[in-house]
Amino acid sequence: MVVDRLQQVFREIFADETLTISDTTTAADVPNWDSLVHINLVYAIENEFGIQIEDERLASFKNVGEMQAYIEERGGRG
């Protein structure tokens, strides 16, 4: 499941094993989601799913749900 793997990546990158994400999660909901962590997160997601996210799309995600939909649409490595 994309959402489970996405959650694992979030937990590792934020180093918080209790972190729970949902479709509506945004950067404002997660402590320490600064620009550095954001880069790490994008990188880890690309790595986990074997995809490259275009810069324009990267800037357009409003929440985790949109990012998840994008990964599924791209047929991220399963």
């Binding site: 590792e12 180093a15 790490n40």
Partner: protein
Amino acid sequence: MPGELPPQDKWATVPADPRVPKQHQASDVGAVAPAADVSPKKELASITVTEISLRHCLDAARAHERSGDHATALRWVFTAIDAGDDLAGWTAAAQLARRCLAHVGPLPRSARIAVLGSYTTSQLAALLPVAAARTGVAVEVYECGYGQYQQEILDPNSELYRFAPDIVVLAVHAGEARLPAVSDDPEAEVAREVARWTSLWETVTARSGARVVQHTFAVPPEVALGHLSTRVRGCRAAMLAAVNAELGRAAADRVALVDCDRLAAEVGKRRWFDARYWNRAKQAVALDCVSILARHTAAVIGAQLGVSRKCLVLDLDNTLWGGVLGEEGLAGIALGDGPIGEAFTAFQEYVLELKSKGVILAVCSKNNEADVREVFETHPNMRIKLDDIAAFSASWDDKPAQLRAIAANLGIGLDSLVFVDDNPVERDVVRQLAAGVDVIEMPVDPHAYVRALASYPYFETVALTSEDAARTAQYKARADAAKAAASATSLDDFHRDLEMVATVVPLDDVTQPRVVQLIGKTNQFNLTGRRRGDADVAALRADPAATVLCLRLADKFADHGLVGVVIAIQRGAVLDIDTWLMSCRVIGRTLEDETAAVLVAEARRRGCTLVRGRYIPTAKNGLVAELYPRLGFVRADGADDPLSEAAGGPGEPGGSTWVLDVATAKAPPGLMRVLDSEGSTVEWQGAMT
């Protein structure tokens, strides 16, 4: 000659390995037993790791953390980061390690590390603590502002100097080198750029005393000149390579290089530099390579601080040769002839290269000793000979027990050993029951053995010295001598039988590198743990108040080389011992007693009436806690002691001060000859009256 070779398809595919019990098969999912089942005791298999991968090992680490066993959790974190390079996994590992470290005892070393970068080094700074802890160094990291490395070094009032670093890491990338695309005068360009860096090194060293760890430039593979660049010394790629080479030549004792160009080539330069992340966030090292950079930077720092691994312990069957000797016989093992045999020969040759740089070799095998010795002695394709092996253990004892015996025999700790075994069950047992031993996760395919061993970074050494090259011979002599001790009637007889000769040699250009190396890496017999560097030692040579005793030791088995160093400073009528250490390979030979006698003679020569020393406990020097009282020194802590904290001295925590009255000093045991540098015998002239 060996007879029938095993069928070549024996290793051709990688099926479920029949030697591997079920819990080791990678396909067996469900990495960790429920936390409730976990026993905090260090017993086998209470937490099962199905596969040595970053995530599985982290799961095991978390399970041990939940059970309250932080030491074991930490070991699984280290196994995890050995197993993978993934940024997310490393980020989680770094956090887990931080939590576990708060619950376990101190690591062998600690250091304050400043990361000065020319690109975004936040990830490197975040991963360095776990990578350094892996090598035995607890670190506090300071990261300078983005690209501020030069300002921080040049401004004497910068945060860098307020931080008081022990190590300064210059994490710089190829784009930072001030070299044009093409130059008419490449020599001058290269010299200018090299001078820029060496002058930064000198400024750091002069202002902070810190050691410098410099990353070399990863030369980009995009070369507009194409193959013509090989003929044009003025092209940027050629100049970058020249700068790397010149920096290597210029690096002195307090500067070490991390060869990023090689690391980048090893993982692939297309992977090392990811233009998207450079443009997005000025990441000059791709984020899945930062872990590799952290690992190797930590290995080099560990070597600087003297915590490199010393001894490679090798299994035999299916590790040094193909097949099981007990089943296939001398003629049936695969070695030398045929593709699989060639793989094992290549592996042996690589092992010998490690030996020649100073790594001690040992054998740990479950076999009949006579049978395996016969292979070493008679198999025509054996590259490794019995003489190459400092400690040979072949028996039916379990491997953790054999490893402890090997360590004891060589006089080193389990945390100096690196274990190589093709059998995952043995690796697992050693991981669990011989804590401290590093276990290399060997591939199933012997063709990949060399690469697996070469990828292990913790045999890093500071310098190649003749002592390094001869070290196996010396440890072997020590092990032989240890066997002889078992048969000698008394310890004194044993010592006399060794026909030991100690020689006091001067500190000069020849001995200084070895003296600095010994000061840097001696842990057990080290009274103060003070790490005097090359510049400090050079200064002592010019100081008339300072005496630096360098002692060599030889016996009938081996010349152990320069193994003892004492730095003493005269303060009026007192000769103060600043540093006293001895290589662990000559511990227990009475050399310390003879050294004390030489020191007393030196005190008398200087007209001193007291010799004074300090013992400062560290994680590893418990061995010498009682040295001073044993030698007749008496406790003399107090405010009149200029070394004490009260008197403004170093005041090292837990330290004690000891004095020896030159007039009443005891005669040494006299179980060895002591010569001065002219070859004359140094006689004990009795107490001064």
